[in-house]
Subunit: 322 residues, 2 copies
């Protein structure tokens, strides 16, 4: 356990959920961008509730809510404190959390997951690592519920575990770390708003069996490709016949951008999470940079403000500096 | 190329398609049962067609058609000969094939696939191995079309490649060999008839998105479990929320049998292909034998004639003895 009042620093990575064909089950963490957080244990006032035991301080200018129940990091920490107190009835803990969001909210690369995951990994570090990664994912999913109304783990899992993760099952929660070869990731964030709840509501609740079969062929191919370090197989498997055709209409220039990136040598890619960010995977750094240029060209041509990142898969997940 | 008139012997293994959660994409070959075949190149009459160049001789008592277009091995060989003649316009080849079916037709363990696959692997051997395994799968799928009306590859692929195979895509055809740890396979064939076409026609053409997500979580988990040799993960992933609930009603005692086998220590299992055979996977041989006993007890209790097999995954596929 880290002494009371001693600050730790936290780096919480952005994450790409779905990985094209793995809607709601696959995701990976990237080395850039990431949120910076600081956190410490503080004395808890006698008789205060779990909610009152959490202080959120925003270091950025996004103006996100600081009431713990409405803040994604706060909601995750409430779940952690409540479970801690069940096994430590005589102890009471309180946290101060400073959050410097470098991952823009609503960009589709796991901004809310980074805050939730960063907070619970930080809290666990402060408490002497008493919880498993699976526990931490469970707590952090409460933050996702605040953000999008749904307790999903496809950003939380890679943010905490690092690398590529498979959420095989939500109830009961089961996360599988998948090995992956070196992959360069190019991300473009066109500055438009796509609300996660809207991106979910436009999905059809039924899919054709023949499309589902295609999709699970690709998912099996992607998992096999990652584990065999077979780049061509990874590329061929990055195909989504169910979600992308519906969601991509929310993203300007999506089809043209994807085509240009693949022509520039990208293995493949698609919508990051529920968008609007788009990611592409490449085998070589030069390709990833060429892909970035295609993205810039396209969105400059459309007159649409955008950010790009060229990065790699983050294998560590949330990192702590004590 | 093997000399004219010289017989070769062929062992074509039974196969288990679908592997519970991998409908139409996964399958594996087993070491028992298998079909025995013999085959030779013979002189071809001038001016005869590809169909006339094939002679099928049944060595068993099932009375399957021997007209090449109606016989699964014949249909597969017609496709092979036609493609051979496109690249060898001045050559003409003819085959004699003796088939001793030891895999009962209609049992759901790839009886038709064994004949088709055995025939084309044998023909390729006689011709000096000029075709790739992918080519052979393509030819043999014509046999599946004769048998069930659909050109599917989920039995053909493991029969030709051996081991566990993933059919990532049918058009274009792409087969991925998946490594797997030692697995014991127990199969029970209750002596009832389930026609593949009936088993297909009762399937719903639409599935719920949330069920599809569960299914692809399990498929990803199964592929990862096989490649990591993680037996528990394999077991947990052997769950089918889409096909099995519909098809299992065609198989007497299915739910009770599955429960008894899992209680006896099986990792999991389900319907083999479109049934009626049921397979179970176990980590240890003793468990596989205990599972066999549960199967026998259940079907004896129901007064239903049945065969059982305890075997392992066949890693070689069709084997030739010259």
């Amino acid at each position: 356990m880290i002494p009371i009042n001693q600050w730790i620093k936290i780096k919480a990575p952005a994450t790409v959920a779905n990985m094209v064909c793995g809607f709601d089950i696959l995701g990976f963490a990237v080395n850039s961008p990431y949120d910076e957080m600081e956190m410490r244990l503080v004395p808890r006032s006698a008789g205060s509730t779990a909610v009152e035991a959490i202080t959120i301080i925003n270091m950025d200018t996004y103006g996100l809510p600081t009431e713990p129940e409405k803040n994604v990091a706060g909601a995750a920490l409430i779940a952690l404190i409540e479970e801690y107190e069940m096994s430590h009835p005589n102890s009471s803990i309180a946290f101060e959390v400073k959050i410097n969001k470098l991952i823009k909210p609503g960009s589709g690369v796991g901004s809310s997951a980074a805050s939730s995951a960063g907070a619970v990994v930080g809290a666990n570090y402060l408490l002497g690592k008493i919880f498993s990664n699976d526990d931490l994912v469970r707590f952090a999913m409460n933050g996702e519920k605040v953000a999008s109304g749904v307790k999903h783990a496809d950003n939380i899992a890679p943010c905490i575990f690092g690398g590529v993760t498979l959420v095989r099952s939500i109830f009961p929660l089961e996360i599988i770390a998948l090995p992956s070869p070196t992959l360069y990731v190019t991300i473009v964030h066109p500055q438009i708003e796509v609300r996660t709840s809207d991106a979910r509501s436009i999905l059809k609740q039924n899919v054709k069996l023949k499309d589902a079969i295609k999709q699970w062929g690709n998912i099996a191919g992607l998992v096999a490709g990652l584990m065999k370090s077979d780049y061509d197989l990874i590329g061929r498997s990055l195909e989504d016949v169910i979600i992308e055709p519906v969601r991509s209409i929310l993203i300007p220039g999506f089809d043209a951008l994807k085509l240009a990136c693949k022509n520039a040598g990208a293995l493949g890619g698609g919508i990051s999470g529920s968008g609007p960010s788009i990611f592409m995977l490449s085998k070589e750094k030069e390709t990833a940079l060429a892909v970035e240029q295609e993205m810039k060209n396209l969105y400059e041509g459309l007159g649409l403000a955008h950010h790009t990142y060229v990065t790699t898969i983050n294998q560590q997940g949330v990192q702590i500096e004590a």
